[in-house]
């Protein structure tokens, strides 16, 4: 009955629409500077939400427009939006619009907080946005870390090793909070996603990043809120910032073109060793180098996109097969995506975003591992000192991952000024790892082969609701009230099983192993919820202010739910609107923002003592698992920032922000003395205080832009530092390897250890090492640098020449950071440190013939005792001791990690003009790009790569190179066609 009535209504309405007088709005959109037509610009009549995209000639047509007066909004990425009043009174209305390039990105709508987005020109907080689609024209990235690193200020995103699919560490500003792993929360289309590094059965230290399952080609843009000042309303967990990834959406099709477009991108290339090992950093360099290969990179991506005024869609399929530069390292990823947007009525928008990934990642054996490729070729002058090469290559490690990330989201505008939004998101990952040591080969600790199975199921649900109401208090003072709630639910289940003793390597199912070794499971269920309110004010276009408050709740086993308030406030003022600036400064905004967030204690932190069952020869018995503190609260992190954005001469942009973060109530894990027996875990206390500060600056310029030539330059510089202020009387806290410290008055995770220097007899001969004096309150330890840079940044350049050629270059650098070369330390222990052996011979301590007795090189001769060269050799030799007087002199092996890397280079030729002569617009665009990554590097570091960490990307141990695979050099070509 209802349907019938609706049908009648429809029949009645349709003729009335048809009867109204209608016209067509058409025209051309061009670049105001070069006069070139702009294909793909969006043209919309705001009042009736009818619009079109421009075609290849920059032309658009919007038919069926009822007579009337409208606001025509023309927007295009990289240009300032233009709004123009258009009166449709005749069958055809012609409008031509010239868009000014937006060199400094002021027009971009950026995310400024939860449920808040505004143009960069009005933002009250430092915001960063990466336009991924533009980068994808020049590169085919392996993962989101490559897409992000070096592109924005205040954030660096580094892989822990050269493993394809390996762990990624985000370093957000000065990383002031002492708790947690320092990682931001990551949302994809409103779904909080799993950003774990999964190790499962280890391969020496490196895990697999769950971000490897995200196809960078699906990403349209990434917004980053870098600290509490911007992320306060995200509440607890937002203390390390928030990364908001938006996937691609369907574009409104031009009226004259097809209602959809199909694009294909094909990539073919190779990963190879960037820097060969030499006798100076490897025991057997030839053997080590021989392992490296040209690993294939191949990718096929097909995407369909389009839409009408009611529905828009984007769908893609992507298959990327990528081999690492070392055998047994590979990723085979297939991604499917389908995103829909529907506008069923004028005031309702419904979106569904879905992505499904099948990923298979194989990791090589390396790092802290006797089965490692590098461990068996770098440490000793005898290759395969620990494990035979065939045995190393025969270990199979495969992680098979299926992941679904989806969200549904409704926006409803019941009143013109009231906007309601609700969304539900789900991220589900199933991971299964198999690790096999064949029965026919020999492995230490393995009897007749071993099979390991690890399963991990992670489910997380994100719920979001908010209401936004805008109103005018006076004609020049506008206010917006925002209220909302967020909830998050996570369930993680893991299990594993190990068996040994297989009768044949040909059968490897776990049931075929005769000896049970181990099996267990894990379970975690945690929830978070928050409610928030925010009040925004905008006075004319000059002054913007926001106040906000969030109340947060989180699960805490063994205690009541932790609840806490987080406030925020921010202010921005547009100086250029006051007509006080010289003409050369066409935009100047000052801003300041303050916010607080927190870092949750661990789920069990509030339990006093927790016991687990330990299997033994007596049966399973109660042993301690965890020692907690019932009074524990979240760590609180406050941040204040001051910044400015300016634009000079219309094409030079400057953006700079100073921030000061302070962490209080930081949870310091106190290690009980072992004599208490309470050492199953450290005990958390809210006693810590730390402070971090920094300046992040970007300068961009577009000095040249003509029809055939263009030049864009961007320089990014970040300075960051931090200091641990208070540990509440706790002894310094060391990482598991007793080298990175948290100590009052020192930067977080500083290298704090011992080193040695030479002593001499009266006759000038070397008398052995002595400890370099250090701090008396720390058994003579000394500060040896920090495992992250004080200064870092990038320089990027985009050159367009001869109209269709495009050269893109990105170099990034870091200064003031250090790395512990544990590989060299162990080379000394194994007598394979070349430099140390030379020095030993020069001091007459023991003979050394670099190429053996039969080689052409003469043995190293001893230096004259007491000579300058002798003294220098003695100092260097003494500075290579590995231990002295009962302490490990790691400080002797801490080196500067400064580097400059030519990170990205690409050269693209756009064939579109050429091919259009023959194809009659069937092909919208076609281009070929040659790209390279890690093409060149300069560093003082003696190892192969100063950016690695042997223990993955989440460990408290940082910047330690221990037989870790360096990043590869990648060179590949891509062909992109859009129909």
């Amino acid at each position: 009955m209802h349907q019938l009535r609706a049908l009648c209504l429809l029949l009645f309405v349709i003729p009335s629409i048809a009867l109204a007088q209608q016209g067509t709005v058409s025209g051309i959109v061009t670049d105001a500077e070069s006069g070139d037509p702009l294909p793909g610009a969006n043209v919309v009549l705001s009042q009736i939400r009818q619009g079109a995209a421009t075609d290849l000639d920059g032309r658009f047509t919007i038919p069926g427009v009822p007579y009337g007066t409208y606001t025509l909004t023309v927007s295009f990425i990289g240009y300032r939006t233009v709004e123009r009043e258009v009166s449709v009174q005749s069958p055809t209305t012609d409008v031509s619009v010239a868009l000014m390039p937006d060199y400094t990105g002021l027009e971009e709508v950026v995310v400024t907080g939860i449920a808040s987005a505004t143009s960069k020109a009005r933002a009250e907080v430092a915001v960063s946005r990466i336009d991924a689609e533009q980068l994808q024209e020049n590169y085919a990235y392996q993962d989101v870390s490559q897409l992000m690193n070096g592109k924005i200020t205040g954030v660096s995103v580094q892989p822990a090793s050269g493993n394809i699919g390996g762990g990624i560490r985000f370093v957000m500003r000065s990383s002031t909070g002492l708790n947690g792993d320092g990682q931001p929360v990551i949302y994809v289309d409103g779904v909080r996603i799993d950003n774990a590094e999964v190790e499962g059965f280890g391969v020496g230290g490196q895990g697999v990043s769950m971000l490897a399952n995200l196809n960078p080609e699906d990403i349209a843009s990434i917004d980053v809120l870098k600290g509490p000042a911007g992320a306060a309303l995200y509440g607890t967990s937002g203390s390390n910032g928030v990364v908001l990834i938006t996937t691609k959406r369907g574009q409104l099709a031009g009226a004259t073109a097809r209602p959809f477009s199909v694009s294909y991108k094909g990539v073919y290339g190779a990963n190879s060793q960037a820097r060969e090992y030499t006798k100076f950093n490897a025991g057997t360099p030839e053997t080590a180098n021989a392992f490296f290969r040209n690993g294939l990179i191949s990718q096929h991506n097909v995407a369909v996109s389009g839409g009408s005024n009611q529905v828009r869609y984007f769908a893609s399929y992507d298959k990327r097969l990528e081999e690492g530069h070392l055998p047994n390292n590979q990723q085979d990823r297939q991604s499917f995506r389908a995103n829909f947007e529907a506008f069923p009525v004028q005031n309702v928008t419904i979106r569904a975003n879905t992505g499904y990934t099948l990923n298979e990642i194989a990791r090589p054996q390396n790092d802290n591992n006797i089965f490692g490729y590098l461990g068996n070729t770098l440490l000793s002058t005898t290759p395969f000192f620990f494990t035979d090469s065939l045995a190393i290559e025969s270990i199979a490690d495969d992680q098979r991952i299926q992941r679904f990330v989806g969200s549904a989201d409704v926006e409803w505008q019941p009143l013109p000024r009231l906007q309601l939004r609700a969304s539900v998101g789900y991220d589900g990952t199933n991971l299964r790892q198999d690790q096999t040591y064949p029965a026919n080969l020999s492995y230490s600790g393995v009897v007749n082969g071993e099979r390991n199975i690890y399963n991990r199921t992670n489910q997380q649900y994100t719920y979001d609701f908010n209401a936004r109401y805008s109103y005018d208090i006076t004609p020049s003072l506008n206010a917006t009230t925002l209220v909302g709630a967020q909830a998050f639910n996570r369930i993680l289940r893991t299990s594993f099983f190990t068996k040994q003793n297989f009768s044949t390597e040909l059968i490897k199912n776990i049931g075929a192993g005769a000896t049970f070794i181990d099996g267990d499971e894990g379970f975690l269920h945690a929830r978070e919820a928050g409610i928030f309110a925010q009040q925004e004010f905008a006075f004319q276009n000059r002054l913007f202010a926001t106040l906000g408050l969030r109340r947060d709740f989180a699960t805490a086993i063994g205690s009541e739910a932790a609840a806490i308030y987080y406030p925020k406030a921010s202010l921005a003022i547009r100086i250029d609107e006051f007509d006080v600036l010289p003409a050369a400064i066409n935009f100047l905004k000052l801003r300041t923002a303050y916010g607080e967030t927190g870092q949750l204690p661990g789920l069990l932190d509030a339990s006093r003592l927790r016991w687990e069952a330990e299997p033994s020869g007596y049966g399973a018995g109660a042993v301690l698992d965890f020692i907690g503190n019932v009074e524990i609260e979240p760590e609180r992190i406050r941040e204040i920032e001051f910044g400015l954005e300016a634009e000079f001469l219309n094409n030079i942009g400057l953006e700079t922000t100073y921030y000061l973060q302070s962490a209080t109530n930081s949870i310091i894990d106190f290690a009980n003395v072992p004599s208490s027996g309470l050492t199953a875990s450290d005990v958390p206390f809210n006693v810590g205080e730390a402070r971090g500060w920094g300046i992040e600056t970007s300068l961009s310029a577009s000095p040249l832009r003509t029809r055939n030539y263009g030049l864009d330059l961007t320089f990014i510089w970040n300075y960051q530092d931090n200091e641990v202020r208070d540990l509440g009387g706790a002894q310094p806290i060391y990482d598991g390897f007793d080298i990175n410290v948290i100590k009052e008055g020192m930067p977080r995770s500083a290298f704090y250890t011992w080193g040695t220097r030479a002593t001499f007899n009266e006759d000038g001969s070397y008398a052995g090492p002595e400890l370099i004096p250090g701090d008396e309150d720390a058994d003579g330890r000394r500060f040896y640098g920090i495992p992250y840079p004080k200064h870092n940044g990038s320089f990027s350049m985009n050159v367009r020449f001869l109209k269709n050629f495009n050269l893109n270059v990105l170099a990034d650098w870091q200064l003031g950071g250090s790395i512990f070369n544990n590989t060299a330390y162990f080379q000394t222990l194994f007598g394979a440190n070349y430099r140390r052996n030379v020095l030993g011979a020069q001091l007459g301590l023991r003979p050394f013939d670099p190429d053996g007795e039969d080689g052409p090189e003469a043995p190293i001769e001893a230096l004259e005792v007491g000579s300058d060269a002798y003294r220098a050799a003695a100092e260097e030799y003494a500075g290579m001791e590995t231990s002295f007087q009962g302490v490990s002199t790691d400080g002797n092996y801490i080196e500067e990690a400064d580097f400059l890397k030519l990170r990205e280079v690409s050269l693209r030729y756009d064939f579109t003009d050429l091919i259009r002569k023959y194809t009659n617009d069937q092909i919208r665009s076609i281009s070929f790009t040659l790209s390279a990554r890690n093409l060149w590097m300069t560093t003082k570091y003696s190892g192969a790569d100063p950016e690695v960490n042997f223990d993955g990307s989440r460990s408290a141990s940082r910047a330690t190179d221990f037989l870790t695979l360096p990043q590869p050099r990648s060179i590949y070509g891509s062909l992109s066609i859009t129909f």
Partner: protein, 409 residues
């Protein structure tokens, strides 16, 4: 309109507060751990008892291997395949860093063993055991708590030191105020007290085990009379050894690091010489050859060829040798010779003709192979094999030194 919205928004926020509370608390409990209070039940006491025993087995495994490494029983040689741990090399050379993390593993375990045992006694003191079955559990708990509490204190006294010449350890009952350094003599008297207390709940066999341990402690302290008295009531010929038990997932550490699993430590070549000189010695010194990287043949201990093999803590043979040693020290060589020959005969080894202190030391070296006692005997018989200034004990760890302001030195 605006008022209505403000009202609605406030209502939503106010209602959300309790909803959020309930939402975050509505989670499933962990499946792998329980809170301490959940163990305060008679039915959970056997589970707690097993925990003490489980910690004893891991502790004792580490202890015997590391003590063997520090003594002249085991050698660390990088020519042996997969001998890589620098921490083991430090044990072998007696040049041990405070931060040696293998030693951390043992020292943490000794601390846990002591705490688990004492905690068991405190816990059962708050529980009521009703009926015979429950009272049997109570007695077992009292035995286990006292016995292993004594063992933990004995280990600290015998194997740890603050400086190379200050043997002893630490017991901390309040983690906020760590305990002072306790010299070995203090720890030995605590150990004896605990072992005596355990006797009240021990079976006859367990009582004999305790007496042999008491005899050993007195022997180590040079109290020969007390040692003799205790040993007289110690283990008798035919008694089973009292051992630590191991399972696949709590493996015999000799198998794991100094045996077939991985061979980081191998037996000193002198043991091979003993077997070469008298092939019957293989019964108490079983050796298992392994080829080194340079072709040299090394010899692993062959006593524990499986992960699950038990490691003896005390044997009747040790008790007999304690008595023999005291006889020799008292000048009664005839009974001493008889005891030594009884021990030898139990392995099918021919009798000796005479005995003196050197013979006793050598017999103990062979008989007590892989029991962690050679280290103590080297000190007792002044047979230290490493240069002066090297550690003859395991040092209290860096973590104890970092966190304990009351150590003095």
């Amino acid at each position: 309109m605006r008022r209505l919205l403000t009202f609605l928004a406030s209502a939503v926020l106010l209602l959300s507060v309790p909803a959020c509370d309930t939402f975050v608390e509505d989670v499933d409990d962990p499946i792998d751990t329980i809170g301490d209070e959940q163990l305060n039940d008679v039915s959970q006491v056997p589970f707690v008892i097993t925990g003490v025993e489980a910690r004893f087995s891991t502790t004792y495994g580490f202890l015997t291997v590391f003590a063997g490494g520090l003594s002249d029983e085991l050698i660390f040689d990088q020519r042996v395949p997969n001998a890589t741990f620098p921490t083991f090399a430090e044990f072998d050379s007696g040049d041990i860093q405070f931060a040696n993390n293998s030693n951390d593993g043992l020292y943490n375990d000794v601390g846990e063993l002591r705490f688990f045992a004492d905690n068991l006694l405190e816990r059962i003191a708050t529980l009521e055991f009703v009926g015979e079955e429950e009272q049997a559990i109570q007695r077992e708990a009292q035995f286990v708590g006292n016995f292993y509490g004594g063992i933990a204190r004995y280990i600290l006294a015998t194997y740890y030191a603050l400086t190379p010449d200050q043997p002893g350890g630490v017991i901390t009952t309040d983690p906020d105020n760590p305990g002072p350094f306790l010299p070995a003599a203090d720890l030995y008297s605590q150990a004896l007290e605990k072992l005596e207390a355990a006797k009240a709940f021990a079976s006859d066999y367990q009582t004999r085990v305790i007496n042999t341990l008491i005899a050993r402690i007195h022997l180590f302290q040079g109290n020969y009379g007390a040692a003799q008295t205790a040993a007289a009531a110690g283990l008798q010929e035919g008694d089973d050894p009292f051992s630590s038990l191991h399972s696949v997932d709590n493996s015999n550490y000799w198998y794991v690091q100094a045996g077939r699993g991985r061979s980081q430590f191998v037996a000193d070549f002198v043991y091979k010489d003993y077997v070469d000189a008298d092939p019957n010695e293989a019964a108490r010194i079983p050796l298992d050859p392994i080829e080194g990287n340079d072709g040299t043949t090394f010899y692993r201990q062959g006593k524990y060829l499986e992960r699950t093999d038990p490691i003896p803590l005390v044997t009747w043979q040790e008790n007999a040798l304690i008595l023999a040693e005291i006889d020799v020290r008292n000048g009664s060589t005839a009974p001493a010779l008889q005891r030594v020959n009884e021990v030898r005969a139990s392995h099918g080894i021919d009798p000796l003709d005479s005995v003196d202190l050197d013979t006793i030391a050598l017999e103990r070296r062979k008989e007590l192979f892989t029991m962690g006692l050679r280290l103590v005997d080297q000190r007792r018989f002044d047979q230290w094999h490493l240069p002066a200034g090297t550690w003859q004990y395991l040092p209290l760890t860096q973590s104890e030194r970092n966190g304990n302001p009351n150590l003095g030195s």
